[in-house]
């Protein structure tokens, strides 16, 4: 059963300014509830990634507003939004986006250190636990270059979980992985929702994967095609 609304988009439109302005997202209303596994699907160029960035406060809507826990974000200072991203949201991108000079463990520790709520030892222990839980125990001290694509993506998931945020936003998390790694990463996300009560919003063009999520939001030309707050599938 879906819980409270965590993130809500209200009439969100994002227009990319330019000589010919491009509308990426068109008047979207969408509510993400606690403990949901939501798929945002659509053909390429349909604005699904853009919608995810808007939900994750990485980008600002041209019109409308995104609220987090019922709090409006439109008038927040950049630093305030950054703090929400740091503490309450976790990101996984199509490419791992790990810092190349730091080991897996250090990369996972990075958000914790930026937040600075734990002692150094506690951070180290927690980062190690996260990596162990994702089957990367023996790769803790490797640099991103020394890991396979799937391993890197799992490190990225561990990093997204570093500050224990209620919501994970994933942009094509399996997009650049082979089917085996892809399945592994999907299962991890599935477990986050089922076993750790997290909320996961994933952008994917893989309909097979989307089928296995709780709810699908279909975007076409930046607008939602299916009813936004439809019934849960499972």
């Amino acid at each position: 059963m879906a819980g409270d609304i965590l993130i809500e988009a209200k009439g969100v439109t994002r227009i990319l300014p330019g000589i010919v302005p491009t509308t990426l997202v068109r008047n979207v209303d969408l509510a993400i509830r606690a403990n949901e596994f939501v798929a945002i699907t659509g053909p390429s160029g349909s604005g699904k990634s853009s919608l995810l960035y808007l939900l994750g406060l990485l980008d600002l809507p041209t019109e409308g507003e995104v609220t987090i826990h019922g709090k409006g974000t439109a008038h927040m200072a950049d630093d305030e939004r950054a703090l929400i991203r740091l503490a309450a949201l976790g990101f996984v991108f199509q490419f791992h986006f790990l810092l190349p000079e730091f080991t897996a463990l250090e990369n996972v520790m990075l958000p914790m250190r930026a937040l600075g709520r734990l002692s150094r030892e506690a951070m180290r222990t927690r980062a190690a636990e996260l990596l162990d839980a994702l089957g990367l125990a023996e790769h803790r001290h490797k640099l991103p270059d020394q890991l396979s694509g799937g391993q890197r993506q799992r490190v990225a998931v561990a990093r997204a979980l570093a500050n224990d945020p209620p919501v994970i936003l994933a942009d094509e998390p399996t997009g650049s992985l082979d089917s085996k790694s892809s399945e592994q990463v999907f299962q991890i996300l599935r477990d986050l929702v089922d076993k750790r009560s997290k909320t996961v919003v994933a952008v994917t063009h893989d309909l097979g994967l989307a089928e296995r999520m709780d709810r699908r939001v279909q975007l076409v030309d930046g607008a939602i095609e299916a009813p936004a707050d439809g019934a849960r599938v499972t």
């Binding site: 980008d59 703090l83 740091l86």
Partner: protein, 411 residues
């Protein structure tokens, strides 16, 4: 370690080659500007030192610059006179010993009385007109370098025989005289004197070495045919830069014309202004070029990290933190480069100093260099400023970009 410091340090460390290049760039700029400044200032200081050493700091002569003060001027504020000339009187400084005594009482330096006269030296049928200086061999070393510039004999050799004489080495060469030669001195007053050469001096200044002879003060007075005559006092003060003020005070107290070395060489000193402009232009240009190099390297490094900046921002690091990472990196490079530049600059100076110059026209056989901490401080200051700007400006730009723009670009 603080997260920001840690990231900066890791960046710098993990790209050793790039860092080394950046550091080398800063170091070269700092090193060469330090060297250039040392060279320019060194040669100027050396020139000044030669000037100060070659000549007395203050010369008091028996000329008077102003007509004597009239009693009416003391009595009435508006008294005015026309057609007065400086006092004409017996040559020489009156009561020289009393003046020497009173000057020595307050002057930070030494005073030596002397007699300046002109004469013609005659030896082996060659005649040369020379200026003859009667000196006190005991006081002379305190006001001039003559004692250290003796090629043959010493100043006290003047006591060895009656009418002993020291010749400038080029003068001796010119007339073919050697130590022990007996020469004839003919004065303008018509007196004739037989003198014996007891030594030779070499100041390095051709015009002086070619036409100067030294005798005892007493001998000088005999040549001038005036006992007790002192017509010049040479003063060497502890701080040559104070000579101007001291000279005017001496003139005020004694009434005799006193000329500081600055006044005597006004023309040379004014050429220093031009030299200084040249020096600051050259050193400034080197620093400017070096700082462009520094800027280039560091801003390239920062631009290359644009993706990392986007990642850190998307994770939720705020702009200020991201920016300070790159400012710290730039500062590290600037400081290490600056310190390496100090070493390079110092080494270059030592290297230049070790070059020996053999020239028949100069006594100096090494390049004069000045080791001034100020040069190092300025070079470091410029290097740090340019590297900070080079780190700050691109980092500010990169940190302002929405992470999405870069993430989109990568996907």
């Amino acid at each position: 370690m603080n997260l920001v410091l840690d990231i900066a340090w890791t960046h710098v460390r993990s790209r050793m080659r790039q860092t080394a290049f950046a550091v080398a760039g800063v170091a070269t700029g700092v090193g060469f500007s330090v060297m250039m400044a040392a060279l320019m200032q060194g040669s100027q200081e050396d020139f000044m030192r030669q000037l100060i050493n070659a000549l007395p700091h203050i010369t008091v002569s028996d000329d008077r610059r102003l007509p004597p003060r009239q009693p009416a001027e003391d009595a009435f504020a508006i008294a005015e006179f026309h057609g007065l000339t400086p006092e004409a009187r017996r040559k020489g400084i009156k009561n020289p010993l009393a003046i020497v005594g009173s000057l020595e009482a307050w002057l930070p330096g030494a005073v030596a009385p002397s007699v300046q006269t002109k004469g013609i030296l005659r030896y082996a049928s060659r005649d040369v007109s020379v200026s003859i200086t009667g000196i006190d061999p005991v006081r002379e070393p305190k006001v001039s370098q003559l004692a250290t510039q003796m090629r043959q004999g010493t100043l006290t050799s003047l006591y060895r025989t009656s009418n002993a004489m020291i010749l400038g080495d080029r003068l001796a060469e010119k007339i073919g005289a050697r130590a022990g030669s007996n020469i004839t001195v003919q004065t303008s007053a018509g007196a004739k004197l037989n003198a014996q050469v007891v030594g030779m001096s070499h100041t390095g200044i051709r015009s002086v070495d070619e036409s100067t002879a030294y005798v005892l003060l007493k001998t000088g007075q005999i040549i001038e045919q005036q006992t007790g005559l002192v017509n010049e006092m040479r003063i060497r003060v502890r701080d040559p830069m104070q000579a101007r003020e001291l000279a005017s005070r001496i003139e005020e107290e004694t009434g005799y014309k006193s000329v500081s070395w600055q006044e005597a060489h006004e023309d040379l000193l004014s050429s220093f202004v031009i030299r200084n402009i040249i020096m600051y232009t050259v050193v400034g240009a080197i620093l400017l070029v070096a700082s462009f190099g520094t800027y280039n390297i560091i801003s390239t490094i920062t631009h290359e990290k644009a993706r990392d900046i986007a990642i850190m921002k998307s994770l939720g690091l705020n702009e200020r933190k991201v920016r300070s990472i790159f400012v710290i990196e730039a500062m590290l490079i600037g400081i290490v480069g600056g310190l390496a530049g100090f070493v390079l600059g110092y080494a270059l100076c030592l290297g230049l100093e070790s070059i020996e110059i053999k020239s028949p026209f100069m006594d100096m056989n090494h390049l004069p260099l000045s080791y001034n901490p100020l040069h190092y401080a300025i070079a470091m200051g410029v290097a740090l400023t340019s590297s900070l700007a080079a780190g700050y400006m691109p980092a500010r730009k990169a940190a302002r970009v929405h992470p999405v723009d870069i993430i989109r670009g990568a996907t």
